[in-house]
């Protein structure tokens, strides 16, 4: 069983077919994914409101689908309105920031204000990170809002081994390992650094094949208990606390 905390719905600007709902279901079945949390690819790379609208319709198609609203702090008021509009929707359980595509630093004043506005909700933030400077920005944000949960998408990407050290002191930051590079020791070192209960399973599906991260878990020298924690138990505790 897997809870995949990093999935996308929509077309990507690369040589690949669009994954429609049946194909997505087929993949979730193949890899035994019981819950998958999606954000809109269109919302990330282009128009967040249009992408969120499409995502909301998509989420209704399967009980396993849950969602993050994509926000773009360049459009601060619109982002606030977007959360107000959908925050009662039970399928929406988080917010996605992508500092690479929006060109807005993670600890930017507008992004910080958005987090502040909704810090009394249970929304969890999935934040794309690539490089130590983004990990440091995320650490700053997490320090300011210790009761808000953040997921460091990609565990900081190409410098993940430095990034786990940077976020280690912040218990409200989780890490998830997906990346184009399936580093053999990424899970082991992440667990050993930030602690087992802060490592989640995220694949970046439909951009990246879930087999990438499953292979990293299965071939990463983890015990059965560690695998179960990463695959679903930690996500259950983070997203669905009793």
């Amino acid at each position: 069983m897997i809870i995949d905390v990093h999935c996308h719905y929509g077309l990507w600007s690369f040589a690949m077919d669009k994954f429609e709902v049946d194909k997505i279901r087929e993949y979730l079945d193949k890899f035994d994914v019981s819950k998958a949390i999606f954000s809109s690819a269109k919302g990330i790379v282009y128009d967040f409101a249009e992408g969120n609208r499409e995502l909301i319709e998509f989420l209704e198609m399967d009980d396993r689908f849950l969602g993050y609203l994509v926000l773009n702090p360049n459009y601060f008021e619109e982002s606030i309105r977007e959360v107000e509009k959908y925050k009662e929707n039970e399928k929406i359980i988080g917010i996605k920031f992508h500092p690479g595509y929006s060109k807005v630093p993670i600890d930017d004043k507008r992004a910080t204000e958005i987090v502040d506005c909704f810090s009394d909700t249970n929304l969890i933030y999935l934040i794309h990170t690539w490089g130590a400077s983004m990990a440091s920005q995320l650490a700053k944000l997490a320090n300011k809002f210790p009761t808000v949960k953040f997921i460091m998408g990609h565990t900081g990407g190409d410098t993940w081994f430095d990034c786990v050290e940077i976020v280690k002191p912040y218990p409200n930051i989780y890490v998830e390992p997906c990346s184009s590079y399936a580093d053999r020791d990424k899970l082991r070192l992440s667990i050993d650094t930030v602690g087992l209960n802060r490592v989640l399973f995220g694949s970046d599906f439909t951009l990246i094949n879930p087999a990438f991260v499953i292979g990293m878990v299965e071939g990463g020298g983890l015990t059965q208990e560690e695998k179960e924690a990463v695959y679903y138990k930690n996500a259950m505790r983070a997203f669905f606390p009793e």
């Binding site: 040589a15 184009s180 053999r184 020791d185 990246i208 094949n209 879930p210 991260v213 292979g215 299965e218």
Partner: protein, 239 residues
Amino acid sequence: MKILDVSTVFGFYPYRKLDASLQTLREIIENYDAKALALSLKGVFYDAGEGNEETLNLLRTDKNIYPMATYDPRAYPRNIRLIKELDSKVFLAVAFFPHVQGWVVDFAPFRLALEVVGDDLPVIVHAGGYGEITKVARLGAEIENPIIISGIGYSNMSEAIAVVQKTENIYIETHLLNSPDALEFLKKYIGTDRIIFGSGTPLLSFETAYQVVAKSSLSDNDKEKIFYKNWEELKGVRV
């Protein structure tokens, strides 16, 4: 199913603390009952001459892991003799690492190296950025060696398809084929005859590379081609 991995390394990894020892590589390859081509990282990070010598010394009699040579064109003309005289009875391929070593694939010393490498030796090029594969293919059109390009993922898949469609001796290595249905997508446009299995282990996860092929919806026949048959059918290859 038989597996031959054309993309493995061993030795000291300077970028961060990581066990990339030959012993670890051997254990991984043995766990999967696979065979592999490998080279010493000394040849990539330090000196091709010393690296190739180490590769040969350690793998000459290995039953599962076969030696692969490398050449660093930044050192040209030093060591060019090595590549001229590479014994294809001993080394099964020669691999180049422009991305790691910081040179571009239309670098004149690399072109010279390709000109002198024996016709019967497969060439593996680890290339990635937009335009690099296109340049490799242009060079490939001038030689007869099979050229296997490593470093193809979702971002440069379009370029890989375009060059394979245009250039007969270009092949795709699998370790970075990260998009879901990447193999099915490639099959639709270029077939499966020119896809060759590689993992990047022990730096990267062998299990990941394995699952990408094994869990694809390709037929067993296609999987066999990718795992080892396509390699065995390359011009000049002996296993």
